[in-house]
Symmetry: C2
Subunit: 377 residues, 2 copies
Amino acid sequence: MKRRYLMTPGPSPVPSFIREALAQEIMHHRTEEFIEILKETNENIKYLFCTQNPVVTLTSSGTGAMEAAVANLFSAKDKVAAVCGGKFGERWLEIAKAYSLDTIQFDVEWGTSPSVEKLKKIMDENKDLKGILTTLSETSTATVFDIAALAALTKGTNVLLVVDAISGLGQDTLKSDEWGVDVVVSGSQKGLMLPPGLAFISVSPKAQNAMKTATLPKYYFNLTKALKAYEKNDTPWTPAVSLIVGLRESLKAVKQEPMEAHWARYQKMAQGCREAGASIGLKVYSQSPSSSVTAFRVPEGINAKDIVKKMRREYGISIAAGQGDIEEKVIRIATMGWINEQDLLMCFSVLEKVLKDMGYKFKLGASVARLQEVLYS
Amino acid sequence: MKRRYLMTPGPSPVPSFIREALAQEIMHHRTEEFIEILKETNENIKYLFCTQNPVVTLTSSGTGAMEAAVANLFSAKDKVAAVCGGKFGERWLEIAKAYSLDTIQFDVEWGTSPSVEKLKKIMDENKDLKGILTTLSETSTATVFDIAALAALTKGTNVLLVVDAISGLGQDTLKSDEWGVDVVVSGSQKGLMLPPGLAFISVSPKAQNAMKTATLPKYYFNLTKALKAYEKNDTPWTPAVSLIVGLRESLKAVKQEPMEAHWARYQKMAQGCREAGASIGLKVYSQSPSSSVTAFRVPEGINAKDIVKKMRREYGISIAAGQGDIEEKVIRIATMGWINEQDLLMCFSVLEKVLKDMGYKFKLGASVARLQEVLYS
């Protein structure tokens, strides 16, 4: 009789109207019917990416699309800067190194947005810099990076701005074309309300141009092949048909709301989340908090993993602990995709109960009341 | 009111007991509950692969697992032979070339199994040969290759035998360990009765040893990372959770039947299919026909693609035309996964009707009667 509630930064809950689509009878991917679906999702996903560039759908986790970006844009020894302010920035660094790029590790204090001045300096000092690999919402620290400012740096230069928006897309404002972001990568299991298994990558004309001379080996993630198929609403390999049928429903739902209103909804939830936590003494970890996920430092003497375990085992509610060095020091609560205000209220009610049981002192109900104030203002 | 019937060699039909599993509420992949599922699927998939080697589950199409094999087993300039007897053998060649391997293109007449003598000669003349890349069931020509004979050649040598069993696994006999196959690759959308989106790769100790010195770049498909996670029933990246929940149901069903009986069931269907076609003058294309799919030469003056179109548009039945040079010359009917005798009877009934409408002369009912004789013998 235990109900499950997902408040984790991916996978996030999948609504029943999408789950029903996933359960439909399978169709063949080389039929007029499926081509129509792919045509629709190819068009509608541009809305979410705020771009007129092609957005290619890949069958993989988001990490596969990150690798696709590196393997298709660069050649061995090309110089790139990987912005490392958390686990997912480090993933960029690892991928770039796996492909023998000449990698500048640009360390950023966890929980902060990268310094635009310092990145500008790197660009000035490295005239041969080919790309900056960075993150919209660094899930591990629940931090949003100022992508608009970074794009202003790279726009009109030869440097490609490549953004991992896997967890941020849909919640954290990202105006790909208006800002001039070259490549945006995302996945299905966050803002898109789908199970994991699809990844997406948008490719600007500047990035497509870079692809022409890039020589790193690739096959499954070959974007030249993928773009050629994309023109005909096709895919080079058998795609995850059922997930794409689900994607159609997801994008239909997303398109019902102007993007500004869409972002505002999550921003308000994230703000409510932060203020609710603060009202019971939980300090927000990030100095540049994401709208997709919020990280709180846990009270002295309590292990974040114990909070997570108690919430999951006793109440079926999944939140996340930290990652890396802060694994035991923070808890993370997502506000993405299908997660709504009611989920957040429920989550804080139970979080209060769990913290109380663990001996933490605060006024029961305070965070829920604060959350109501923000949400219902 | 049009019902859809899938008789294509992938995607093949997904039964409702699996589709219901796909539609379950999503769960987080780092929970005890999901680890239990992965533990079960990791164990049970060995049964289908007839191996005690680890079988890693990847989130990708089968092609991704083919790339994983190449990128993890070899280094640039390593010499490999790619057995090219159809589109999927050519895919091995393309992947090997994309990764700058020293590639021997071993051409095999389409519709035949590779000559063991000729391959032995290649091995004798190329003492530095590192691997043979081949196929169990070459879907494009509906041809099964004699993997047992090839394994007898490579067993005890330094040459790795790497087999694409994407469409063949479950229908065409493959005794990985007994024969000594080093690496077997498969996908979810054929014998496993799932939607596309998962791929599998088994890795023998000899192959794991080769991985230690292989230097090709890889990240998402890094099997060293994947095997490390596998030991803990984990995955390095977010897996396609819903497909793995479906995989559990699929493997439970597969395990209810001894593998010999399982193979025999499809072999009988494929035999029935061949004899049914022959009884109305359709010549079987392959000289070494697969049990997973059967290709027939279409009658003089009829285009295979027109048959496929009519069957799909007028009756909702999807069969496949040929691929490559034989695209318009053959039709292909699958006998894999959830496809059963009744489907086959239905398919031949309608195929007769369509051929009759196209002006082809034969005795109506002949193929269905012949099929019944074989199936009910």
